[in-house]
């Protein structure tokens, strides 16, 4: 991989401009996340350096408790890092307020969770459309059609989550995550609750999203077969990335 040129990123409304490797969509620099419970301190991330280029599909593998999920939450702005820097599309998460991180998440990040996390009172259509409404640009029927067709959800849109299979629920969750064209899709064990067949379908669709739409994906998994769908695999252990870092 070639070195990314360091330039001053253009100011994006509501976010801080900063020095930024323009080719990277994601960069962490000496990232630490320490959880405190009383006098007990647990370091989930211990100086993670991690880079992702636009259009990459990266799998992050590692045993339970190695800090994979913490990395994902910090990258996605759901948690604040203790030290270091996280740059998402030119915006330093550490420099942003909670409200600004929320705004950045709304506009640039999509999440897919192991447990689908669909809103149970809404049908598939509503679960996808609500993300567009929260995004603030209103309902975009064309984008909706493209995404739901690609994820083969057209016939299942008026079913509630309780009426959908696990695979269908996860496809709805993926549709919800990408409906606003996020810069980066963060998937936390997306096949952890699925059987082999549905896992293959979901992973195939993630790969299709990456290849056909150029969607950048960072996927947490401990399943090597799932990781094989990614273009690059990095391994974490004890809060640090131990291999898979692209060479300079």
């Amino acid at each position: 991989m070639q070195n990314a040129a360091t330039i001053l990123a253009p100011a994006i409304e509501g976010f801080l401009p900063g020095e930024w490797d323009v080719d990277l969509i994601l960069k962490t620099d000496n990232l630490w996340k320490v959880y405190r419970s009383g006098k007990l301190e647990v370091s989930a991330l211990r100086g993670v350096n991690f880079e992702v280029l636009p259009g990459e599909f990266v799998a992050v593998m590692g045993p339970s408790g190695c800090g994979k999920s913490s990395l994902l939450y910090v990258i996605g702005g759901l948690a604040q890092a203790t030290r270091g820097h996280v740059l998402v599309d030119g915006n330093d998460m550490m420099a942003l307020s909670d409200a600004a991180r929320t705004k950045l998440r709304r506009h640039k990040v999509g999440f897919v969770f192991q447990r689908f996390n669909l809103l149970p009172t809404l049908d598939a259509y509503g679960n996808i459309a609500i993300a567009q409404h929260i995004h603030g640009n209103g309902f975009d029927p064309h984008r909706f059609e493209v995404v739901t067709s690609m994820l083969k959800l057209t016939d299942r849109l008026h079913h509630k989550p309780s009426e959908l299979s696990g695979g269908e629920q996860q496809r709805v969750a993926i549709a919800r995550a990408i409906i606003n064209e996020p810069k980066i899709l963060l998937a936390d064990e997306p096949t952890g609750n699925l059987d082999t067949k549905n896992s293959e379908i979901v992973l195939g669709m993630l790969r299709q999203l990456n290849r056909d739409l150029g969607q950048t994906i960072v996927m947490i998994t401990h399943n090597p077969e799932a990781a094989a769908y990614a273009g690059r695999v990095v391994h974490m252990r004890d809060g640090v990335i131990v291999d898979g870092v692209p060479e300079d």
Partner: protein, 366 residues
């Protein structure tokens, strides 16, 4: 879509929503009914006093507009002075006494002739005039409510009265006895609580009132046409406090139920709140969504409460025919406002808690 989510959430737990709606409904009904009962009572009393047909009334110094609350009555000989005044056509002394047996009623002790001269006389549904010391007249509402018939004996004020007639309602009180009898029974010989004064022409009311104030400087002189406006809860000691207490009680019911309901909702929906946050929903979005849900519950509760009010009014006035419950648009709107504000305040703290939930903890909530 947000509206759909709110509505679906409202009806997701129908029992809980129903309880919240009923609580708001009860709150609204209590507010409207308590105020309606008190204002209805005052309004009806005022209309009856106005129905006497006098132009002015004279009461003892510092007497309340609620005549039966007034203390020491006046010497009845004052009547002679009143009758001598210019423009005065008739003067009817009336002694008032509370009767607490079988309910709370005001008994008018009247001189039949002078009362007739001022009021134009009774319209009899049954029976006839007071002709013996222990005779009593009851109005038609009282007769219906207590199932009183002409000729029967009514026990009140430690005395057996003979029902001589049933008269049309609206002439001051529901019960009328000879003034001498009431004076004897209440130990107020030659006394009157109020003098109703009929003038030759109503236009002389102001002039006669001014003259009365000169002759009876400390006495209460009230034109009857102003009486209705004086019969307000603020003029009756304690009533305003009672009404406010009842409203506070009603609001507390609504507030607490909404608070508990919304608190339960945010615990139940912890994971969903986490999901909304992961989608980039702001704190304001989450607060607005929960408050909107509360507003929908309040809206349904208010409609139910107004319906319950009219239903309860129909039941109460059927069971207690003498009861007047005044439901006014003004108080329906106030009850609506009280319910909405109470509900939103009740939901505010849970909504604020929800907006501050840590998204990671929320997403891992079981």
């Amino acid at each position: 879509m947000i509206g759909e989510m709110i509505l679906r959430n409202v009806f997701h737990r129908p029992v809980r929503t129903a309880i919240s709606v009923i609580a708001v409904g009860v709150e609204v009904m209590l507010v409207i009914l308590v105020v309606g009962l008190t204002s209805g009572l005052l309004h009806e009393t005022a209309k009856r006093v106005e129905g006497v047909g006098a132009d002015l009334m004279l009461q003892p110094p510092s007497a309340s507009v609620f005549m039966a609350f007034s203390g020491a009555p006046m010497p009845i000989k004052i009547r002679e002075k009143l009758e001598e005044m210019k423009y005065v056509r008739a003067v009817a002394p009336v002694l008032l006494q509370f009767n607490a047996s079988g309910g709370l009623d005001i008994v008018y002790g009247i001189e039949q002739e002078t009362f007739k001269a001022v009021s134009g006389g009774f319209v009899f549904h049954e029976g006839g005039e007071l002709s013996a010391p222990n005779d009593i007249l009851v109005d038609d509402w009282y007769a219906k409510a207590k199932q009183v018939k002409v000729g029967q004996t009514l026990r009140m004020l430690d005395n057996d009265f003979h029902v001589a007639g049933i008269v049309e309602h609206g002439k001051g009180a529901r019960l009328f006895v000879p003034i001498q009898t009431l004076q004897e029974l209440s130990g107020a010989r030659d006394k009157a609580s109020v003098f109703f004064i009929k003038l030759t022409r109503p236009e002389h009311t102001a002039a006669v009132a001014d003259e009365l104030r000169k002759v009876f400087p400390r006495y209460e002189i009230r034109p009857l046409k102003d009486f209705l406006s004086l019969m307000t809860s603020s003029n009756l000691p304690g009533l305003e406090t009672f009404i406010n207490s009842m409203i506070a009680l009603a609001v507390s019911i609504g507030f607490l139920v909404i608070f508990l309901s919304m608190y339960t909702i945010i615990i139940e929906r912890t994971r969903e709140i986490g999901v909304l946050k992961s989608l980039g929903a702001s704190k304001g979005f989450i607060v607005r969504a929960l408050l909107s849900e509360t507003a929908v519950i309040c809206g349904i509760g208010i409609v139910l409460g107004i319906g319950m009010t009219f239903g309860m009014r129909a039941v109460l006035t059927r069971v207690f025919p003498t009861l007047t419950i005044l439901v006014t648009v003004d108080w329906v709107l106030r009850a609506t406002l009280i319910a909405v504000v109470g509900g939103l305040v009740g939901a505010s703290y849970p909504a604020w808690l929800a907006s501050r939930k840590d998204p990671i903890e929320a997403l891992s909530y079981e």
